[in-house]
Symmetry: C2
Subunit: 119 residues, 2 copies
């Protein structure tokens, strides 16, 4: 099976709604369009990789922040409380363990079950 990254992005309408586009071993590759504010959250046991496909964002941690521009790769280490803040619409690719919940230990209006992320 072959998937094209840009075509997959074209199919996404909702913000903050990750879509699983591939799986490799114990990992899901997800994409999402994000914009605006999000809740601080933590993945206690899993790192989470962000690749900025389009746009930019600030990754806010408790005591510092990191600016991520198009083409940048950044790993949020397990246990680090964080939230992405994209002022404008930003397209991200995520590499996460299959067990990772995209809103971490919290549940909010964006929390989406894995079955729904596979659609």
């Amino acid at each position: 099976m072959v998937k094209n990254l840009m075509k997959e992005f074209e199919s996404i309408i909702d913000l903050w709604s990750p879509k699983i586009i591939s799986e490799v071993n114990d990992v899901y590759v997800k994409i999402a369009k994000i914009q605006g504010d999000f809740d601080m959250h933590t993945h206690l046991e899993e790192d989470e990789l962000f690749y900025i496909v389009k746009g930019n964002l600030i990754m806010q941690y408790d005591s510092y922040s990191v600016k991520l521009n198009e083409g940048d790769i950044h790993v949020v280490k397990k246990g680090e409380s964080h939230k992405p803040i994209p002022k404008e619409e930003c397209w991200v690719l995520l590499i996460e363990n299959k067990s990772t919940k995209h809103t971490g230990e919290i549940t909010n209006q964006y929390t989406k079950a894995i079955e729904d992320q596979l659609r």
Copy 2:
């Protein structure tokens, strides 16, 4: 830490010489510039994800082949004998388990130890 995908590619000189640019949980993200012929090989226990950053290639399996163009994502499933054939220089991003050897069960002139892939 932030890495930029295109800058990482600029640092690569040798063909068929994967460079690890990130790690997330049990997975390495690697990039490579590849061109020409390669040996058929198999990863017995691990899937291997190919994302075509630039150019195109034919993924040759024993009894069929798949054309991969820029922006395409394709997973070689564990146990499947395969070789990528990029006629022109092609830039690929790979997602592999840390345990995966990039030339599979064979050793050839391109086989590169993990320590060297981390440089």
